[in-house]
Amino acid sequence: MNWPQLLVTVLTLGSIFGVVTLSLNLQYARGGMINFGIVAYFAVGAYTYAIFTQPPPQGLDQYKFGFGWPWWTAVIVAGLAALVFAAVTGWPTLRLRGEYLALTTFAFAEVFHSLLLNERRIGNGTVGLARVERPFGDWGPIEEKYVFAGAAALLLVATLLVFRRLLVSPYGRALDAIRDDETAALAAGKPAQKMRRQVFLISAVPVGFAGAVYAMFTTLAQPSLFTAEVTFIVWIALVLGGERSVYGVVLGTAGLVFFEEIVRAWPFETVRSAQIAASVEHVVTGLVFIAVLRYQPFQAAATRLKVSK
C-alpha cells in the first residue's frame, strides 16, 4: 500500500469534506436545523466552478454554457451560487421545523440531482463535465498534489477560523440562546427566524467553495459524485466527531475519509472481492454510525474533560 499517497488523499478529501461537515455543524448544532440535502449545495459549487472555467461547448458536448473564466473568479462565483441556491431553497423550507425541514431539504437535493442527471444542457447529463481545470501546477520542487492538499487544508482552516470568530461573538451567543430556549430568546428581542435564515445562508458559502475544490480534485463534475450518500457520509462524520465540538467534527471527518480510502486502496485480487469489500465498507459505516449515536463516546469524553477542568 502506498502510504504517502494515501495520506495526501486523506488530507485533501478530509479537508474538503471537513468544510462541509463544519457548515452542517453550524446549521445543526447552533441553528437547530436538520439539513438532509447538504450534497445539493456541494454539487452547486462543483458544477458552477466547472461551468465557469470550461471552454464553450464544441463537438459532442451537449452543455450550453462554458465561460472560460480564470479559476479564482469561478471559485468566488461557486460560493455565491451556493448562497443563491440556499436563499431559493431556504425560502419555502425554513418555515418548517425538525423532520419536515429534513425531508424537504432531502427532497430539494433529490430534485436537483435528477435535474443534473436529465438536463443535458447543464452539464452533459449522466456523462458529466470532464477535464475540469486544476489551477495549481508544480510549485517549484513541490509536487502538484501536495500544493493541492495544502490549498484544501487552507480552506478548512479559514472556514474554521471564520466560524469560530462568528460563534464567540455576541451573534454566536444569541444563536445559542435561540437554540436552547427560543421563547426566552424571542422575549429578549432576538429575531429567531431571521437569524436562523442567516445561518442557513452563511453556512452555504463554504460548502460552495468546497464543491469547487472537489471539482478541481476529481477534475470531474458528474451526477454520480453527488448522491444522497454524500449527505449521509457528512452526517456520519458529524455524529462521529460529536456535534457542537468543532475540532471533533474535523477529526471525525478525517477518520471517516481515512477508513474509506484504506478500503479503496486495498489491492483486491478479484472484482467480486472488491465488490464485497465495498459492501462491507457500507455495513461497517452504518454499524459505526449506530454505535456512536447510541453510546456517544466522544460527547461523554468532552463532558468529562469539562468537569475535570
Partner: protein, 286 residues
C-alpha cells in the same frame, strides 16, 4: 387516449406507493420517528422472494408468504436491538440512526446478492384490453392488494383489541399504559405489522420490476414524497396522496421525459407544503 393510458398506469403506481408508504406512516404515527430503513425492508423482502423462488424453486406465493414473515421478523429484531435503547434521545437521533440501519441493510444486500438484474420466475403479465386501454394482470393485483390492505388495516385499527391499543399508544403512551395497554406487546405488534407491510410491498416490487440491489433505496424517495404529502403519521390520507403522486408521476410522462418522474413527485410535495405546511391531512399546530 394515451393520456388516459398513462392515468391508468398511474393508478397502479399509486397503489404500489400506498402499499410501500402505509407501513412507514404507521411507524411514524406509533413510534414517533421517520424510519428511513423502511425502504430497505422492501429490498429484504423482494430478494428473499427472488432467492426462494428462482434458486430453490418455490412457488411464488409460498416464497412471498415466507418473505413477508421473514421481513416482519427482521423489522422487529432491528427495532428491539437498535431503536428501543435510544428511544429517549428523541426523533431526530432515531431518524439519523435509521439511515445507519439503511446503510447496513443496503450494504449487506449488495454483498450477498451482487450487481446485475434479476427477475422472478413467473410468467409474463397477462394483458387485458377494455375501451382501448391496456391493463396488465400484475397491475390489477397491485390495485386489488392496495384496496384489500387499506380496508383490512382500517378494520384492524378500529375493531380489534390490538388495533385499538396501537391507536391509544400512538396518541398518549402513558395514558394508554395506565388504562391497561401492554406497551411493549403493542409496540411489538406495530413493528410486525409495519415491517410485514413493507414485506408485502417488497413482494410487489419483485413482481412489477426487475430487481437491482439499489432499487430499494430508490423507493425511499417516493415513500417520503407520499408520506409528507399525506401529513406525517396520518394513515387514510396516504391513500389519497399515494394515488395523487402515482398519477402525477405517470401522467407527467405525457409531456416531459420519464427520467423526471421522481422530480415530479417532489415538485408536487413542495407545492403542497407551500400552502399546507403540515401536509394534506395536517392540522395547523401539528
Amino acid at each position: 387516449m394515451l393520456l388516459l393510458q398513462f392515468f391508468v398506469s398511474g393508478v397502479a403506481t399509486g397503489c404500489f406507493l400506498i402499499l410501500a408508504t402505509i407501513g412507514f406512516s404507521l411507524t411514524r404515527r406509533v413510534e414517533g420517528f421517520l424510519n428511513i430503513a423502511h425502504a430497505e425492508l422492501l429490498g429484504v423482502s423482494a430478494f428473499t422472494t427472488w432467492w426462494l423462488n428462482s434458486h430453490h424453486g418455490w412457488h411464488v406465493l409460498a416464497a412471498a408468504v415466507a418473505a413477508i414473515a421473514f421481513t416482519a421478523l427482521v423489522g422487529l429484531g432491528i427495532a428491539r436491538v437498535v431503536y428501543d435503547p435510544i428511544r429517549h434521545r428523541g426523533p431526530a437521533v432515531l431518524l439519523i440512526t435509521s439511515t445507519g440501519v439503511a446503510f447496513v441493510i443496503g450494504g449487506a444486500l449488495h454483498g450477498l446478492i451482487g450487481t446485475g438484474i434479476r427477475t422472478l420466475d413467473i410468467g409474463l403479465a397477462h394483458r387485458y384490453e377494455a375501451f382501448g386501454l391496456r391493463v396488465t394482470s400484475h397491475q390489477l393485483i397491485v390495485v386489488g392488494l392496495a384496496a384489500a390492505v387499506s380496508v383490512s388495516l382500517a378494520l384492524f385499527l378500529n375493531r380489534t383489541r390490538t388495533g385499538l391499543a396501537i391507536r391509544a399508544m400512538a396518541v398518549n403512551p402513558e395514558l394508554a399504559a395506565s388504562r391497561g395497554v401492554n406497551l411493549s406487546a403493542t409496540s411489538r405488534a406495530t413493528w410486525l405489522l409495519s415491517s410485514g407491510l413493507a414485506g408485502l410491498a417488497g413482494v410487489m416490487l419483485a413482481v412489477l420490476a426487475t430487481l437491482t440491489t439499489d432499487l430499494a433505496f430508490a423507493q425511499i424517495l417516493q415513500i417520503l414524497a407520499v408520506a409528507i404529502l399525506a401529513g406525517l403519521g396520518s394513515l387514510y390520507a396516504v391513500i389519497l396522496s399515494g394515488l395523487l403522486v402515482g398519477v402525477a408521476m405517470d401522467v407527467s410522462a405525457y409531456w416531459i421525459p420519464a427520467g423526471y418522474r421522481p422530480l415530479v413527485a417532489f415538485a408536487v410535495v413542495i407545492v403542497v407544503l407551500l400552502f399546507r405546511p403540515a401536509g394534506l391531512a395536517g392540522t395547523r399546530d401539528a
